[in-house]
């Protein structure tokens, strides 16, 4: 008999209980497992109660959902001012409503949803969202907060259902729901206009649908199977569309799918055609569908944002031509570069910006004390340069002189329009890239020295040709030292206003760093030609948007001498984030996990690793476990394993990240950790009850244990709820404060 049939039987046994699909726990590990006994599912409550079970379950689910909505929507309107990152995401929501283009390091879906919620709830996009603490006054903000709170509230029923599906145990699911409902951190994070509730919603929804479709595995290609599979795909697209952190849940689902396919592939009762069908179904639902949806969000994003806005400069000239209001939109500029033209020069490397100079000198000790030359992402009058002949200083705009075009290979001088200094380089080391030469602004009123001469070359072009605005890719070669003008892409310290470094590279490597193009071009002597420029195709726009986002993310580096949150702080709840208010007269909200919940989670991970490895070693040693323990160990190893994997996937990658990190990055991992806690304690208590079976009270050990955990958690929430719902009055270090006794760690400052 092929082994997989055993799994099928076990599943069918369950069918009356779960309605349509068998439990995942009951599914055998795969055909490799020779011992069919392992497929036995954990013990159920007595069959007599079955009649009341279905309505009972629905009632419990309703109760859990109700609790979660009640906690999330309680005092949602408080405080009526901008809290923490609402200043960013609210502002971005407004941009969608106003249809102005902006730049952000996260993908657009989350902000689009916020914008949509705002729009539907009557917010008109006129509030400025300038800085945290600004009052909302008459602007309607509750729609956006309500939307986030709604998604945040759904996390709890999702977690409840996931754990129920993995463990087939109501107490475990209830415990999980309680952990999350009564966690002040999750509560706080769900109540404001932030991306995190949206992100967590999609992550949990993806997890739930993955677990659901796993449990339908014994009925492949049935309607629910397709439903859950495609829902997984949809939610994956959602998670990735909100933040790139969504990649972790994709990895987890991917891992689950690969191992699932591996089992199917090893099942000899399935023909290759069937395996092929399985593979195709997964490719369709988990790769093609999410990609299509993800692309669609970008299509909507670019379609909605069609007005020029603050984010233009981050993108290439071609990209900007799409935005109405931008000076490149339906641009009409002189086509060929001529002497005397006023131009802006843009780096071909994405998200580097325009060649820029300003009236500030390089500080002492950093090369020569001459005027700084940088690249700058925003449009600014300091980006303007005048192109001049190297040897004469006569004004080429003198109407008596004929127009002379700049040609490939000409030696030119670039004069900064505002400060009349020439683009200059010399044998001094550049401020950050020590092997390169420094680039400065030099000379007075355009008179400098021979170090101001640059040869202009068009990439891949022969001599003699004119240089086209926007289209020609040019290089500027320093005549004296032979180096190439380039941007290193490194951020200058404070003295350079955190703009990017410009250097002259002695290494003539072909990189985008040293390639530029002329963007704006003003020359009154030349006729303006309408340039229907370079409408980039959609894939090009997508690619560019991603490059810019990735560079933006990499640019978020912590600075020296700054306190930053470290990943190891997070699970121990080392310190929170101040959402609102500092002083004792302010309305203060402090993002901090409920320490009871978080420390219980931490303990549970350790306990899980311990008990899991004991079971794994015992099984590997071939120990014969009693049937009941066997079932529990299966749930522990498989269901728990998935949750542990989720926790690790959402936590450990942060250790490798160079960007600046915040406490709230831990919350997706915390969801998984809480589910693991629920599952683990249920199993541990059951094992306890089982090993005490000879005593009369054994049956109550489990019930009492779960009840005391639930009550303990609820009580701790009662203690800590002011963190989330807001507190006024003296700070906690003051003994008069009601929170005085609750500052269990010195690092908490609420």
């Amino acid at each position: 008999m092929p082994p997989a049939v055993g799994g099928g039987l076990a599943g069918s046994e369950l069918r009356p209980r779960r309605g349509r699909c068998g439990s995942q726990a009951a599914r055998a590990v795969g055909p490799d497992v020779a011992t069919e006994a392992t497929a036995r599912s954990p013990k159920r409550p007595a069959p007599s109660s079955r009649r009341f079970e279905a309505p009972g379950r629905w009632a419990l689910l309703a109760l859990v959902t109700l609790m979660s909505f009640a906690t999330r929507f309680h005092r949602l309107d408080q405080p009526p001012h901008i809290c923490w990152d609402e200043t960013h995401f609210g502002k971005m929501g407004s941009y969608y409503i106003n249809r102005t283009f902006f730049f952000d390091v996260h993908p657009p879906l989350g902000k689009m949803l916020i914008g949509l919620a705002g729009h539907l709830s009557g917010y008109d996009g006129t509030f400025l969202f300038q800085k945290p603490g600004d009052e909302y006054e008459h602007h309607s903000y509750l729609g956006m907060r309500g939307f986030c709170a709604f998604l945040g509230a759904l996390l709890i029923p999702f977690a409840y259902l996931t754990v129920l599906e993995l463990s087939q145990s109501l107490p475990a699911a209830l415990l999980t729901a309680a952990l999350l409902t009564f966690d002040t951190g999750c509560l706080t994070l769900s109540q404001y206009i932030l991306l995190d509730p949206i992100l967590m919603f999609f992550i949990m929804a993806a997890m739930l649908s993955m677990v659901k479709y796993n449990s339908c595995a014994n009925r492949p290609f049935s309607a629910p199977w397709w439903l859950w599979l495609s829902l997984t795909g949809v939610n994956l697209a959602g998670a990735l569309g909100v933040k790139f952190v969504g990649l972790f849940i994709i990895l987890q689902v991917g891992w689950n799918t690969v191992s699932d396919l591996w089992h199917l592939f090893g099942d000899l009762s399935l023909s290759m055609v069937t395996v092929g069908k399985h593979l195709t179904a997964r490719i369709l639902c988990l790769i093609v569908l999410p990609l299509a949806l993800y692309t669609a969000t970008y299509a909507v994003h670019f379609m909605v944002l069609n007005k020029s806005g603050p984010g233009d400069g981050f993108f290439s000239s071609a990209f900007q031509a799409r935005l109405s209001g931008n000076n490149l939109h339906n641009a009409s500029i002189p086509e060929h570069l001529a002497y005397g033209s006023v131009i802006t020069v843009k780096s071909a490397r994405m998200a580097v910006g325009y060649l820029h100079s300003h009236r500030h000198l390089y500080p002492e000790g950093i090369g020569a004390r001459q005027q700084q030359v940088t690249t700058y992402l925003h449009k600014d009058y300091n980006n303007l340069w005048i192109i001049k002949k190297h040897n004469t200083n006569s004004d080429p705009l003198d109407p008596s002189l004929p127009v002379e075009f700049v040609r490939h290979g000409d030696v030119i001088r670039l004069e900064h329009k505002e400060t009349s200094r020439n683009l200059h380089s010399h044998y001094h080391e550049a401020p950050l890239t020590r092997k390169h030469y420094q680039v400065t602004g030099y000379g007075i009123n355009g008179t400098g020295d021979s170090n101001d001469f640059w040869r202009i070359e068009v990439v891949n072009r022969k001599f003699g040709n004119r240089i086209k605005v926007l289209r020609s890719r040019i290089r500027l070669i320093h005549l004296v030292t032979g180096c190439v003008l380039g941007s290193s892409g490194k951020v200058l310290p404070k003295w350079g206003w955190e703009q990017l470094e410009v250097t002259c590279t002695p290494y003539l490597k072909e990189t985008l760093n040293s390639i530029w193009n002329v963007e704006d071009h003003i020359n009154p002597k030349l006729p303006n030609i309408s340039l229907d420029v370079l409408q980039p195709s959609f894939p090009e726009i997508m690619l560019e948007a991603h490059m810019v986002m990735i560079r933006g993310n990499n640019g978020l580096k912590p600075k020296d001498n700054e306190f930053t949150s470290k990943p190891w702080h997070w699970p121990i709840n080392y310190q929170g984030l101040r959402f609102s208010g500092i002083n004792d007269t302010d309305f203060r909200v402090y993002l901090l996990g409920n320490p009871v919940v978080w420390w219980l989670n931490l303990l549970s991970i350790a306990l899980y690793l311990l008990s899991g490895s004991i079971f794994a070693v015992a099984l590997q040693r071939g120990a014969r476990l009693p049937a009941e323990v066997e079932g529990l160990s299966q749930v522990l190893l498989q269901g728990g394993g998935q949750l542990l994997l989720g926790w690790m996937m959402h936590y450990f990658p942060f250790f490798l990240m160079g960007r600046i990190l915040y406490f709230h990055h831990y919350f997706p991992a915390m969801l998984f950790s809480s589910m693991l806690t629920g599952l683990l304690w249920d199993i541990l208590l059951r094992l306890c009850a089982w090993s005490l079976a000879s005593f009369s009270l054994a049956g109550h050990v489990h019930t009492l244990g779960i009840l005391s955990l639930l009550l303990g958690i609820a009580y701790s929430f009662y203690l800590f709820h002011p963190l989330a719902y807001g507190m006024v009055g003296p700070l906690a270090q003051d003994p008069r404060s009601p929170m005085a006794g609750l500052r269990w760690l010195e690092s908490w400052d609420f």
Partner: protein
């Protein structure tokens, strides 16, 4: 008794002439004309200065890696009697006569030469033929990039040597696991694995990847061992403990030993002292120790101290003040308190002296007996030269507007009261009554009125602040950060109450007399931490390259150029070897995936032991290549072609393995196509016995079917000999055991039986049974 009189003492030596010959040619290729050129070649200029430091026993700090590699190079210098007197400043400079070039280059060259026979041994221990093993060794021998790299004072050859040694000794260990667990040779190879891993890590941090690979393989083997139910629980436990000790504990100890020797050797202060903490510096001879030697240990009221910031970024500096005041209005229009500036100053100066004062008393001298300052005490800090008190208040700092300005208080009578009380917070205290100690205590100053913490913001002040670094009061700062922590560096008990006398006293050097020392572990952990956290300038180099350039050898490095004759040394690989090794890796990966998928469908192309060997060879060679290559994609430092050499070595080992496999298993028959690639959809379909038989005749690739009674094996054990006489005689269980010895002939000679040990053969006949 006296048996040796009756019978002669016989020593039977078993010498593998292959190994001897390979060692000889290896030595020849690496040692020939070793002292040429007598000039500094490429990175010798970098490592050479550290050799000189070792010779002079001066402390240095090199963030590029742990010290074992440097010590090995220095050992060469020690053996050659090098006195360390050479100025390593320029590539191409001629060595003076006191530099023993030959012996300095000897150890890397020996390591490179010994890699050749080791490659032979590894391929042999992996269970492949002598021919393949010799091939691997020859490839290593003639790879010119490896030759170039081993003939100079560079670390890569030693790293490669220890990487190979770790793999080889693990293989020897796991092969001896079958006959003699817990025998002396078993222990020897096990411990040697751990030691070699530690050495590799001790040379360069990238060695850690090979270590992790070996650990991974060992973990998989250990997991199988746990599953082996013929062993008793106690025995399994012993096995696991032995591995844990040898592969986890011993490497840590050996690694610590390197640092112990390193710190033992380098006992004098040198140019890199500044990077380390005051306590560390004080443990070196000369330098700070000369100043601080004999200072009183406990800081008391009236003590004169200099306060060094613990963060050391951007430069190490001391709390400083001077007569100048903050400008009334800054450039950007904000106002200041116009009080005396407080800064952090990176040079020793008389203005760095502060006096610890008891707020309740006026005197600035130390009582007899001195009253020590303890954790939690409230103090005032008096600037020695100006006698103004350190103060902070709710005025924005000049460059960090979110923090408070720190000043020395001047009373302008403008209703801005002095707020000059600071609570002492000893960060590394053991109890709450700890005394503030010179050098050892790390303290924070918490402002009593505003609970701000004295912090170095690190921003250089403009001209009015003489470009010294800004110091601010950071309110409610959370957590520990080096920039808020200060330690007393110079210290003496103040004796003069009068300002004039005191100024004289401040100008005079400190002296007194006690000595103290840090424990080894404290020094180790500080040094290791600094080594790991030091930020190197990622500078572009003329010859730097990216990992993608390496595989196809798109890059090279000019190591040396003779100024007159233009004789050159150039690091460049052998393109044939590089390309074929990369190709072999690709072929391996494809074949592996193919076999894996077919096995999953119960089609066994390879006998079980043959598959295990194939997988192990892949795990160690292809895996060794991957772990030594892929991480470079994530590194931000400047990369060069030579970083690829450890990975390349593993890749080269894979080449003969793949070739032998192809000639043994794939070139013999073309009938592979006769099996449907993924087995059959169901048992019912299985009827093509004739074609399968055909395949059985022509090949070793066989179809096997899992059936209920052989669930564990998956494939059925079977002797092929019955099928075809060509495969030689059938043999009994005893003989099979012995076949291990003849491993080398495996597959070379068609007359030799290929089946050994617990061979699980998949047979066509099963099909007939099934029918």
């Amino acid at each position: 008794m006296l048996g040796f009189l009756q019978r002669p003492v016989v020593v039977t030596a078993d010498i593998n002439l292959n190994v001897v010959a390979l060692t000889a040619v290896g030595l020849l290729s690496r040692l020939w004309q070793l002292a040429y050129p007598r000039a500094v070649v490429f990175d010798e200029v970098y490592y050479g200065q550290y050799i000189s430091f070792y010779m002079k026993r001066i402390f240095f700090f090199d963030g590029s890696g742990p010290p074992f590699g440097h010590m090995l190079l220095a050992l060469g210098g020690y053996l050659g009697g090098f006195d360390g007197n050479f100025l390593w400043n320029r590539i191409g400079a001629e060595y003076s006569t006191n530099v023993p070039v030959w012996s300095l280059r000897l150890l890397p060259a020996l390591a490179g030469a010994l890699s050749v026979p080791m490659a032979y041994q590894i391929v042999w221990e992996l269970g492949f033929s002598h021919c393949a093993a010799v091939g691997a060794a020859l490839l290593i021998l003639i790879e010119n990039a490896l030759i170039t790299q081993s003939r100079l004072m560079l670390l890569e050859s030693a790293l490669i040597f220890f990487n190979l040694l770790a793999v080889l000794s693990y293989l020897k260990f796991s092969n001896s696991q079958k006959h003699g667990p817990f025998s002396p040779s078993w222990w020897f190879w096990l411990v040697l694995t751990g030691v070699a891993c530690a050495c590799a890590v001790g040379i360069k941090y990238v060695g850690v990847f090979t270590y992790l690979l070996v650990l991974g393989v060992a973990a998989v083997h250990a997991w199988h061992l746990i599953g082996d139910q013929t062993l008793s629980n106690v025995r399994v436990l012993c096995h696991l403990l032995a591995r844990a000790v040898a592969l986890l504990v011993i490497p840590v100890l050996v690694y610590l030993l390197f640092f112990y020797v390193h710190l033992l050797l380098l006992c004098r202060s040198g140019p890199h002292d500044q990077i380390m903490s005051s306590a560390f510096q004080a443990s070196l001879e000369g330098g700070l120790a000369r100043i601080t030697q004999g200072q009183p240990l406990e800081v008391a009221y009236g003590s004169q101290v200099t306060l060094k910031n613990a963060f050391g970024q951007p430069v190490p500096c001391w709390l400083h003040s001077h007569q100048s005041t903050y400008p009334v209005i800054y450039e950007n229009g904000r106002g200041s308190s116009h009080q005396q500036q407080v800064t952090c100053y990176p040079f020793k100066d008389v203005n760095n002296w502060w006096i610890v004062k008891d707020p309740g008393r006026h005197q600035l001298v130390v009582n007899n007996p001195p009253r020590p300052v303890r954790h939690g005490d409230i103090v005032q800090l008096v600037h020695g030269m100006t006698t103004r008190l350190l103060n902070t208040h709710d005025v924005a700092a000049p460059l960090s507007p979110h923090s408070q300005e720190v000043s020395c208080y001047i009373d302008y009578n403008v209703s801005m009261p002095a707020q000059n009380l600071w609570r002492l917070d000893i960060v590394n205290r053991e109890s709450d009554t700890d005394v503030w100690k010179t050098i050892l205590s790390e303290v924070r100053f918490v402002h009593v009125n505003t609970s701000a913490i004295l912090k170095l913001s690190g921003a250089p002040l403009p001209d009015w602040g003489f470009r010294q670094l800004e110091v601010v009061g950071e309110q409610l700062s959370r957590g520990y950060h080096g920039s808020t922590v200060w330690s007393v560096e110079e210290h003496r008990y103040g004796r003069s109450q009068e300002q004039k006398e005191r100024e004289l006293e401040l100008h005079s050097p400190t002296q007194t007399d006690v000595s103290r020392n840090l424990s080894f572990m404290a020094r180790f952990s500080e040094l290791q931490w600094r080594l790991l956290t030091v930020r190197s300038d990622d500078s572009e180099h003329k010859y730097s390259s990216t990992p993608l350039d390496w595989v196809m050898l798109d890059t090279s490095i000019a190591y040396w150029l003779h100024p007159r004759t233009s004789a050159q040394i150039h690091l460049l690989g052998n393109i044939v070897i590089w390309a074929s090794a990369s190709l072999a890796t690709l072929v391996y990966a494809l074949l592996f995936i193919w076999y894996l998928f077919r096995r999953r469908r119960r089609v066994c192309d390879l006998p079980e032991d043959c598959w295990l060997r194939w997988a192990l060879a892949g795990a160690l060679c292809a895996g060794g290549w991957a772990v030594n290559y892929v991480p470079f994609f994530m590194m931000e430092k400047t990369l060069f072609l030579y970083h690829y050499l450890p990975a390349l070595t593993f890749q080269i080992l894979l080449l003969p393995v793949v070739l032998e496999h192809i000639s043994d298993h794939l070139c013999r028959y073309g009938a592979l196509a006769a099996t449907p690639p993924w087995g059959y959809g169901s048992r019912g379909v299985l009827n093509g016995d004739s074609s399968v038989m055909q395949m059985g005749l022509g090949s070793q690739a066989r179809l096997c079917r899992g059936s209920e009674d052989e669930a564990n094996e998956g494939c059925r054990e079977r002797k092929v000999a019955d099928v075809h006489g060509r495969w030689g005689r059938p043999f009994g269980p005893g003989e099979r055991q012995e076949q291990r010895e003849g491993e080398g002939n495996m597959g070379r000679d068609p007359e030799q039986p290929v089946v050994r040990g617990r061979t699980a053969w998949c047979m066509a006949e099963i099909n007939q049974e099934a029918l």
